[in-house]
């Protein structure tokens, strides 16, 4: 039970840190926007700040739920610490990393060769889609790998 209590406290801690970080970013962006005409990447930073704030709120709600339902909290803790699941997630992460690296290197090589006119240059649309592929495909590899190993191994 002590183990579960410290795990619950770690969730609370992570939630508070995420909320604090998110709040700092949001306040900073809003303040800079009010003080200056040039906001730069203000919207992007604001989105990141709000995302952090949201994640922090989720953690706090999770902590509140665990406090009210200790048995469910124990099960959540088991799922998080289960050794087989940790191994599955680690392998999936490794595969996603390799996929991400391969795609990023391919894109970099293309851009390098395109600057020498040995390959056609990427239009801004093609570049955008390529970047989407580089970001999304590793996620899909991760999710697919976890699903496959959970089901068949």
């Amino acid at each position: 039970m002590r183990d579960q209590a410290s795990w619950a406290m770690s969730i609370l801690g992570r939630g508070l840190v995420a909320m604090a970080a998110g709040l700092v970013v949001v306040v900073a962006v809003v303040a800079l926007g009010l003080l200056s005409r040039h906001t730069g990447p203000g919207r992007l930073a604001l989105s990141v700040g709000m995302l952090q704030l949201g994640l922090g709120i989720v953690r706090l709600l999770q902590y509140a739920y665990i406090r009210r339902h200790p048995w469910a909290g124990w099960r959540m803790m088991m799922w998080e610490r289960d050794e087989r699941l940790q191994l599955i997630r680690a392998r999936a992460g490794q595969r996603a990393f390799v996929t991400s690296s391969a795609l990023a290197i391919t894109l970099l090589l293309w851009a390098s060769l395109a600057s020498d006119f040995r390959l056609p240059a990427l239009s801004s649309d093609a570049l955008w889609f390529s970047l989407v592929v580089v970001v999304v495909v590793p996620f899909l590899v991760y999710i697919g790998s976890v699903t496959y190993e959970q089901t068949f191994k």
Partner: protein
């Protein structure tokens, strides 16, 4: 790795969920262990053996290596 997990668990009248909770893993891990699809860490192997009141080698059967003397 072959094991006698299912037989020992059934002998004690435990469900997979009960065994999972006793050793601190998910039910899916117990299922994978019983089907021989997953080999446990040494710590988990000790926990399981202790739950059954048996030695590790009585629960998990390490395959003999072919062509080598014991």
């Amino acid at each position: 790795m072959e094991n006698r997990l299912e037989a020992l668990r059934v002998q004690l009248g435990w469900t997979q969920q009960e065994l999972a909770e006793r050793v601190g893993v998910s039910r899916q891990t117990i299922i994978s262990l019983e089907r021989g699809r997953y080999d446990p860490s040494i710590r988990l192997a000790f926990k399981l053996a202790r739950q059954f009141g048996a030695k590790i080698e009585d629960v998990f059967i390490y395959p003999q290596e072919g062509g080598r003397d014991a």
